[in-house]
């Protein structure tokens, strides 16, 4: 319990800094943000109104505190394009991206766990060499290119899967999954390469530890030693870096969603950037950073609950 409390307290300064960085974003716009947002033809009245809405006529510290106060009450402002509350739009789009992210993470695990295990247990073999090469190749593939290749093969040539046409899961689960399959696999393959390398090296480390030798010595079969004893511990570094993995996924999905015209969170950010809807950009980026902080927090707490060594050692 003390560990969880300390971990919670430690994330407060991070959250504050994140909020300051997101707040500063609008002030990084070169020149007068109001002119940039409205364009040169805007009337002085409109400029004045926007300046007041964004609070740009007040001192910086007051602006920040007012903005932070609103954020804490769940108000991220109103879209500059259609005046709708930013929070509503973000939470409408977020589930789509979460489905995509979970799906591609699942694809990544499906590929990475068996190949990572095989290459670690058969170190130096053809299998190890081959999967290491594939992983290096997978890491170097631009996922948006892979997505386009999938579209050419499976949508244009074979016509098995649709190139676009997102349907919400609640409306038609089957159509939803067929539309999401290509983006999930395209993103998942790159992720699997990263995961596989991580898993291989942590597995190699674990396989040389005493307790694995003991397990072998007890006469357990290799399968039991690997799945019950080694894999469990080898997965710890993978779980620890889920926050980083999620951050990578969210970024990559911004492009994937654009290609497949999926109305997700990533595409929302890209659209908002092109519409110069800075309030939307600000809100969306804040939410994506909060998600990463939250995942890191949950992972740390879960690991501490599972593994007493972390509670005793790392927190101090």
């Amino acid at each position: 319990m003390a560990f969880i409390l300390r971990r919670l307290v430690l994330s407060i300064p991070i959250l504050l800094l994140v909020s300051i960085m997101v707040f500063s974003l609008i002030h990084l716009i070169p020149g007068d943000p109001v002119t940039v947002i409205l364009g040169l033809e805007a009337t002085p009245e409109a400029e004045q109104a926007l300046r007041r809405e964004l609070g740009l006529d007040r001192p910086l510290v007051i602006q920040y505190l007012a903005w932070l106060g609103n954020v804490l009450q769940g108000d991220l402002g109103r879209s500059l394009v259609d005046r709708s509350p930013v929070v509503d739009e973000i939470f409408r789009r977020l589930p789509v991206t979460i489905e995509l992210a979970l799906g591609s993470f699942f694809v990544a695990l499906l590929i990475a766990v068996p190949t990572g295990l095989l290459s670690a247990t058969r170190r130096g073999s053809v299998v190890d060499y081959g999967s290491t090469m594939l992983a290096l190749g997978g890491m170097s593939l631009p996922s948006f290119w892979l997505a386009m290749m999938f579209i050419i093969v499976f949508a244009v040539k074979l016509q098995w899967l649709p190139a676009s046409g997102y349907v919400p899961f609640s409306e038609d689960p089957r159509a939803n999954l067929t539309a999401m399959l290509m983006p999930m696999v395209a993103t998942g393959i790159r992720e699997s390469a990263v995961l596989m390398r991580m898993l291989r090296s942590s597995m190699l480390e674990v396989l040389h530890s005493d307790y694995v030798r003991t397990a072998h010595g007890k006469g357990l079969t290799e399968w039991v030693v690997i799945t019950r004893h080694a894999l469990r511990n080898a997965l710890v570094p993978v779980v620890t870096s889920s926050g980083l993995l999620l951050a990578g996924l969210l970024g990559g999905l911004a492009i994937t969603e654009t290609i497949f015209t999926i109305p997700g969170f990533g595409r929302l950010i890209v659209e908002a950037i092109f519409e110069r809807d800075f309030v939307m950009v600000q809100g969306a980026i804040l939410v994506s950073a909060l998600l990463v902080v939250l995942v890191n927090l949950v992972v740390d707490i879960l690991l501490a609950l599972i593994d007493p060594r972390i509670k005793a050692g790392k927190g101090a």
């Binding site: 990084l28 070169p30 631009p142 386009m148 980083l244 996924l249 950037i273």
Partner: protein
């Protein structure tokens, strides 16, 4: 204490015995060359550099020349990779694209280097309040942002363009550089030769530059190469979305964006630019891995 002199002498003698057999650089090169994948990566990078430098001499056509009578043609003897929607030669544009990708790698990582190395050095050397409560918390906060989204947002606020995209990517990379340099500094700063240097009155900045920095170079080199791979990917992604290099400058990411509009009509437009990105990123990844293996004694067989 008289002990401060002994380790120095001992360390000096050790270096001498190693040097008689092989300099560290020669040993590194020997181990690097044994790694076939790494040599392959180095070959890819060397080819890219040659193509980028001599692009005007090797391209069959002007990459900006629009031959509107030969639009969207597939691969042929005249146009080995076909022509794009404006009748420009794809091969020539891809060759010119190497310039932009290499520049992306150098500029973005350069920005990360310029921020990360000094901050990491100073923060790790002096430690204390500023290090733990200011620098490292900022690093934590920066790493909470999905990197590509942060780069997107920065590129969008600064305005689209190659230079801004590189600054954005470089800022996104800097936390990793700060962390690596800082961690290395912390291990080196406590070693006897640094304490010895301090005890004879060498100034802090001299210690940092002459003793601490050279010993941080190995992990930094690995990080630099791998970051260059990510920089090329990120630049391609930003250009694909229209926030990187602006037309008509040939950029692989932007060529893919064009290709997307003709995906069923002219799929070959998508093949080559993507393959070029893949090769370039693979080259840096292979070299980075090779450097890491050649430098890390634990990974040696």
């Amino acid at each position: 204490m008289s002990t401060s002199a002994t380790p120095q002498v001992r360390a000096g003698r050790q270096i001498e015995t190693v040097a008689r057999h092989e300099t560290p650089l020669a040993g590194f090169l020997r181990r690097f060359k044994r790694n076939k994948l790494a040599v392959g990566g180095a070959f890819i990078l060397a080819t890219m550099i040659v193509l980028a430098v001599f692009a005007p001499l090797v391209v069959p056509y002007d990459p900006l020349y629009q031959d509107l009578e030969h639009v969207l043609e597939s691969e042929s003897a005249e146009h080995l990779m076909g022509t794009d929607d404006l009748g420009r030669d794809m091969l020539s544009r891809i060759i010119y694209g190497t310039q932009l990708s290499l520049q992306a790698a150098i500029y973005a990582v350069g920005v990360a280097f310029l921020i990360g190395v000094p901050v990491g050095l100073v923060s790790g050397y002096y430690r204390g309040f500023w290090d733990e409560w200011v620098v490292m918390r900022i690093v934590d906060a920066m790493q909470a942002f999905p990197f590509l989204i942060l780069a997107l947002a920065l590129a969008a606020t600064l305005g689209p363009g190659f230079g801004n995209a590189m600054i954005a990517i470089g800022i996104g990379f800097s936390p990793a550089f700060i962390r690596i340099v800082r961690a290395q500094v912390m291990t080196v700063a406590n070693q006897e030769y640094v304490q010895a240097a301090r005890s004879v009155g060498v100034r802090d900045w001299q210690i940092l530059l002459r003793h601490v920095l050279p010993n941080s170079l190995a992990p930094l080199l690995v990080q630099t190469t791998l970051a260059m791979a990510s920089a090329i990917l990120a630049e391609a992604g930003l250009s694909f979305l229209g926030l990187g290099a602006q037309p008509p400058r040939p950029s692989w990411g932007q060529m893919l964006a064009t290709a997307q509009g003709y995906i069923s009509l002219a799929p070959w437009l998508a093949y080559w630019p993507g393959f070029a990105i893949f090769l370039a990123v693979l080259g840096f990844n292979l070299v980075g891995d090779g450097v890491r293996e050649a430098l890390d004694p634990r990974l040696r067989k």
